[in-house]
Structures are given as C-alpha cells and as structure tokens.
C-alpha cells in the first residue's frame, strides 16, 4: 500500500489526495498477513474515511447499551458507521447467526452484546456466541482487569491481564451419549492452538512491558490435555527470555486470587479455566459492568463486555452500567487506529467514574444509565473538540 502511493504520487501529484491510500489498500490488502493482535493493520476505511463496523445487539441489556454507544459516537462525530445485524436467539435456524458472521467477515470488526442461549433446547442447537467465535477463529480473548480508584472493592490496585484460549478446550461442543444415562463430553487440546495462544500472550506481554506470564492449568489430573498446553507454553516461553514464566494449578489460582491478587501479572489459560478466572477477576475489580473484553483472531476482531452477561433481569430499566460496553467501544476505536477519539471517550468515562463519582446501582450508586452517558457527553463537550448538540 505504501509503495503504491510512492509510485502514484509523483505521477499524479497532490491531486490524488487520499485515493491512493484507499485504492492501494483495496488492491494490496495486507489483511492476509498474520498479525498477533490484528492491531498492526486496521480494516480499510473504504468510504470517505469512515469505518463500517458490524453491530450485533444481542439480548437483555445489549440493545440499550449499544444504543448509548451509537448515541455517544454520533455526538462525538466519530467516523464509524454501524451495520446492525439482529440475531433472534429463540429461532432454531442458523440463518441469523450466519448473516451476522457474514457481516463481520465483510467489515472485519464487530461490537456485540451477548446472545442468550436457551439450554433446554436440544444439543444440536449450539450456543450462538460460541458459533461466532469458532467460525471466525477468534482464538484469543483478552481481558484487562484494572481497579478503578472511584469504585469501592475489597482489594485495591489490581492490574491483571487475562488471556484465554477462545475456540477449543471444553467448549468444543462435542458430546455423545453412547449408552443411555452415560454422557461423554470431549475436551480437545491441540498443539497448534496452544502454541498460537501462548505466542499471542508473550507478544502482548512484551508489547505492554509486562514482567511475568503465569499459565493456569490442571496438568496433575489431566496429564495429556493440560500437559500438552503447559508444554507448548514452556516452549514459547523459552523464546522470550526477558519475560518470566511460571505455572499454577487452577484451584490454587482461585484461592490466591481471593487472598493475594497482586502477585499476578499476565495470566494465560485454556477455555474453561479462563471463564472461571476472568469472572473471579471481574468480581474482584467491581463487577460485570466495569470490564471490557476483546476477541482477536487473525483477520477479525470482536469487542464485547468481558463477562458476557445478558443481564435479562435488569434489561430496559435504565439501571445497567454502561461502562463495560463503552470501554469495549474504546478498545474497538483503538483497533481502528482512531486513538484520539478512543482516549477522549475513555478519559471522560474515567472522569465520571473517579471524579464525579456518578455510579450506577451495581457499584453502589444511584445513577441511571442515561445520567452516566449524559455526564460523559458533558465532559467531552467541555473538553473542547467539535461535537453535536447534546
């Protein structure tokens, strides 16, 4: 893309403007190049410098929170357009989710709410969220748990990055009933995926200047499965001598997390333990309403709240905490290289949380969702850049 610009510019002069960049991107797409976070090359902004992002509202609090995200983006004049794809969780046909997957393939980036899974349905009706993750091969789930100074929790100053393998392990959805009353569920661990996720973790640790990576496993019991995972982690660790590597058994990990969480830096684990540990950490920093999560694949990135709750009981009551979804949208803006907008919105969210202390019910305050969003918009307006009317 850069070379094409260099070739065309002397020929056509400055009249070309951005066309070369845009044209060059389409012709010489580097999306096929494997990137560890997908952060090096953002998806191309094909039309007028505006990005298009797939938006999947989901169920429960998803639709209302994503509406707030859209409102905020419109207010801040963020050059992002949303392509909304609805997925009906009650229908047994897979058309909806296939449309959503196609939209994400088209756009490269998505922001989604959680799609409910009714577990009384027969086993061939797979979890929609899981289908999305495996079809798009979003192999890494990254969650950064940071204590916010304005939120009261039992443990202070927690700063842990959790990296969880997102596609295999216990979530392979391969089950069978060989004999009536005896069910087997397969947990698959492969060398390739374990190497891939370990590589992702170490590169991220190095990028962010982290000192230590801890692998969480249960290899004393699942000797072959978790043993393979641990072995792959050790192999990758030997290639990063500047980063310390250690491992811990999952039950000891949860015990240590509730008593001494400050000993952890970056944690790396297979799918199910990732589920447990990420929920424990989210609880430690203040709850599911505060932590954003990101799912990265080689070609795609999907952003959502870290604990993936549907929040059915608090839907449409204007009491949900918008922080997690808004911070997830900031992660998305960072991914699209729109850093200025991301920092502006993030700064306003943190100011509302820590200085104004306008909290929603889940973290002990009495504000409503719309009040929090209004406060964020007011802070953005007062800090300068051009915005629309509130």
């Amino acid at each position: 893309m850069a070379t094409l610009t260099k070739v065309l510019k002397p020929i056509l002069g400055s009249q070309l403007g951005n066309t070369a960049k845009v044209f060059g991107a389409a012709v010489n797409s580097q999306r096929g190049k494997p990137t560890y976070t997908g952060r090096t090359i953002p998806p191309p902004a094909k039309y007028g410098g505006r990005h298009t992002v797939a938006l999947i509202p989901g169920d429960g609090i998803g639709p209302e929170l994503l509406n707030h995200v859209r409102e905020l983006f419109r207010f801040c004049c963020v050059p992002v357009d949303f392509e909304v794809v609805h997925v009906n969780s009650a229908s047994t046909r897979e058309d909806d989710i296939n449309n959503a997957i196609m939209a994400i393939r088209r756009n490269g980036v998505a922001l989604k709410g959680n799609i409910e899974t009714n577990h009384t349905m027969p086993p061939n009706h797979k979890s929609r969220n899981n289908l999305l993750r495996t079809s798009l091969d979003l192999y890494a789930n990254m969650m950064h748990c940071q204590s916010l100074p304005g939120v009261h929790t039992r443990h202070k100053n927690i700063d842990i990055i959790i990296i969880r393998e997102n596609t295999e392990g216990e979530y392979s959805s391969l089950e069978h009933e060989s004999v009536s009353g005896v069910v087997e569920s397969l947990k698959i661990i492969t060398r390739n995926n374990s190497l891939r996720i370990a590589d992702y973790a170490f590169r991220l640790a190095r990028d962010k200047g982290r000192r230590r990576v801890t692998a969480v496993h249960k290899a004393n019991i699942m000797k072959l499965g978790d043993g393979l995972f641990l072995q792959c982690c050790k192999e990758v660790a030997s290639g990063y001598p500047d980063i310390e590597f250690d491992s811990m058994i999952v039950d000891n990990t949860t015990m240590q997390l509730v008593s001494k969480p400050h000993q952890f830096d970056v944690m790396l684990m297979p799918n199910l333990y990732g589920n447990v540990v990420s929920n424990v950490c989210a609880g430690l920093v203040g709850g599911p309403g505060l932590v954003p999560g990101a799912n990265y694949g080689r070609d795609y990135a999907v952003f959502e709240t870290a604990t993936r709750n549907t929040g059915k009981s608090i839907a449409n009551r204007n009491i949900a905490n918008p922080t997690a979804m808004l911070l997830a949208s900031c992660l998305m803006l960072d991914h699209l290289k729109l850093h200025d907008y991301a920092n502006m919105i993030r700064g306003a969210i943190l100011t509302t949380m820590n200085e104004t202390r306008l909290h929603t019910v889940d973290i002990g305050g009495q504000g409503t969702t719309s009040e929090v969003v209004q406060s964020i918009m007011r802070i953005i307006q007062s800090s300068g850049p051009l915005t629309t009317e509130i």
Binding site: S173, K218, L224, D251, M255, L257, T307
Partner: protein
C-alpha cells in the same frame, strides 16, 4: 436472759439448717455430676479409624486426640497407616488392615498424605477414593471470627461429585498434537450426589441448594446433571432449589458470598469452587472437609499439604483437622461434644493469645492445643 438464750438457740438452729442445706445442695450437685458421668459412660464408645498421615500429620493427630480426651468424647481411636502396596492382581491397593478397620468402623479421620511423584502408584487420596467409593466431598466454609479476611460473612457448603466428571482420567492422543480428554457424566452418579446434597441440606437446616453448571456450552453432560438435580428436588419440596451458571457463581461469590447456601456440582467445578471458598475464609489451614462414601463410609480429612519443612517442630496448626473432626462428630450425631470443641477452638482463635505462626501468632502447636483443652474442660 431468756430472750438471749432463745436468740442464741435460734441462731444455732439457723446456722445448722443452712449448713445442712449447703451439705444437701453440694451432695446433690455432686450426685447430679455422678449421674451425668454415668450417663456419659453409658454412651456407646465408638471406634474411629485414625490415619495420621505424613509430615505434620502425626503431631496434629495427637493434638486432636488430646482435645477429644479433654472433652470426654466417646471416641476410641484405632490408628492405621496407609501406604500403597501391590496386591495379588498387580493392582495397587491400601494395606488390608486399614481396609478392614475402615469397613468395621465406617468412620475415619485422615491427616495429610504425601503424594510421591513418579513412584509408580497413583496418589493415596485417589486410592482411598476408589476403595471406599467416596462419591461426595463436602466442604463447609464458615468465616472464622478472629482470623480476618476481606470476606466476613461466608457461610456456605460446597458438595462436589468426586468420582467422575472431568477427572475420570480418560485421555487419548488422537494424532500427534491433538489430545482429547473425556468428561464423563452418568445418570447414577448425578442422582446420587443430588440426593446427598438435599439430604444434607435437610439434616443441617439449610434453606437452599444451588446446582452449578455450564449447560449452555456442555448441553448434554451438564444438561443430564441438571435434569437429575431437578428430579431429586421434586422430592425435597422443603428445600429451595436454584440453578446458576458457573461464571455467574464465581462473579457473585467474590462480590457477595453471603447469598449462597449449599452448592452442588460436578467434579471440576467443585474442585475450583471449593478451593475458592476455602480462600475466602482463610485458606486450607482452617478448612474442614469430609468425604462420604457408599455403605455408610465417611472419611473426614484436612486438605492442606504435609508441610515437610515444619514437620516435627511443634509449629503446625491443627485447626483444619480439628474442624474436620468436629464435622465427624456432627455426622455421628454427637452434636453436644461437637459444639463444645468447636466453640473452644473459635474462642481460642478469637482471643489471639496463643495462635500458631500461620494464623499470625508465634505460639507452638502444643500451647494452642493446651489452650483449647483448658477451655473445653472449663465448659464442663
């Protein structure tokens, strides 16, 4: 003159009467004590198999035995050792004397056992589990007043299925680089654990039982577990039954543990959650644990390690084994003795005068034990 004499006579009569009264009272007091003693002696003395274990095992077992003696609990100890020996079929098994003793007594108390790496035989805990079909692992987690943790209002019980699930040990290498591990869920085992959980809730005046699962992802396996729990819940209408996803339980547990009562779950989730709850109340050094098996067998144990670095130095903390022994007394129906010993133990910890090193003090194990014994004797 007559008046004074009359008064003097009256006085002596009164003092005589009061001394008779005190004599009668004292003798009746000691009589009632003798009566209670004889009643106690009439309580059947039950024999319990004691497995001291390795490392700090022997010292803490001695401590527990001393405290039980001070509390005059009707327990007789039969010490046995468990080391893996190769049986006639080439299979590893526990020594026949230990097995006989357990089969006869049905109740056992076990200290920490060393798990040797690369010794060729499976872990001792696994052997015991297989030998006696210990299907339920029960861990009551109650916040200890006096041992401060950030969580002060914990009062829950985790009941974990102990024989199958993710720990069945069935693993295969499909092709080079692809491993599959099988999680086994059977109808029989799920029904058994659910029934035990509801029985426990009923016998211990617990109000609700929550089944922990991940049926949105593992539809068939956790779905089967959940179905069995629901079926069993139909027969126990006095106990409330709820279901919750594993991640929601973890999230809520670290924010507000007081909302949980009895939790029942398959093997892996149980392992993680029971250790999480142990961490909430202060770690494995203060957590009791019991394993219930088929045919009425029950083995109560301390779940911490053998701590070889402090073995033999009188520094160990016997609280975990002691609380497990109290659980054992409750299981046997000796609630009075159980309450006495438990109260003495908690009082000692609350006073903070003779705490062992891991609880924040610097006393010896023997001093800690002696303090508890003294309190137990004072309560009589």
């Amino acid at each position: 003159m007559d008046g004074f004499v009359v008064l003097a006579i009256l006085e002596t009569l009164v003092t005589a009467a009061s001394s008779v009264q005190t004599f009668v009272l004292k003798s009746s007091n000691s009589l009632s004590k003798l009566y209670i003693e004889s009643l106690r002696k009439m309580l059947p003395i039950q024999t319990v198999t004691l497995i001291p274990g390795d490392g700090i095992g022997p010292e803490i077992s001695t401590a527990v035995m001393k405290i039980f003696e001070a509390a005059k609990a009707p327990i007789q100890w039969e010490e046995r050792n468990v080391t893996a020996i190769k049986g006639p079929g080439g299979r590893w098994m526990i020594p026949p004397e230990a097995k006989e003793s357990m089969d006869k007594n049905k109740i056992g108390l076990k200290g920490p056992l060393k798990t040797p790496i690369a010794a060729g035989h499976p872990s001792m805990n696994l052997l015991l589990r297989k030998t006696f079909d210990l299907y339920a692992n029960v861990r009551p987690c109650v916040s200890i007043e006096g041992y401060k943790t950030p969580y002060t209002d914990v009062d829950l019980v985790t009941i974990r299925e102990n024989t199958e699930g993710e720990y069945s040990g069935i693993e295969h290498l499909i092709v080079d680089g692809v491993v599959q591990s099988i999680k086994l869920i059977t109808e029989e085992a799920s029904r058994r654990i659910a029934e035990y959980a509801f029985e426990y809730a009923r016998n211990n005046q617990r109000t609700s039982v929550t089944a922990v699962h991940k049926a949105n992802i593992m539809r068939m396996s956790d779905g089967l577990f959940l179905r069995k729990c629901r079926e069993v819940a139909e027969n126990y209408k006095d106990v409330k039954f709820t279901e919750m996803y594993l991640d929601t339980v973890c999230l809520n547990m670290v924010q507000d543990p007081s909302q949980f009562d009895v939790l029942v779950m398959p093997n892996l989730y149980g392992d993680i959650l029971s250790d999480l709850c142990a961490g909430l109340i202060g770690g494995l050094g203060v957590t009791p644990s019991g394993n219930i098996g088929a045919h009425g067998v029950a083995i109560f144990e301390s779940v911490h390690g053998t701590a070889p670095d402090i073995a033999g130095k009188d520094l160990a903390n016997p609280t975990a084994l002691l609380l497990s022994a109290v659980m054992m007394l409750r299981h046997m129906g000796l609630h009075g003795h159980a309450k006495k010993i438990e109260t003495a133990c908690f009082d000692t910890i609350r006073e903070k005068k003779v705490l062992t090193k891991d609880l924040g003090g610097n006393s010896k194990c023997s001093e800690f034990t002696a303090d508890i014994c003294r309190r137990v004797q004072d309560m009589d």
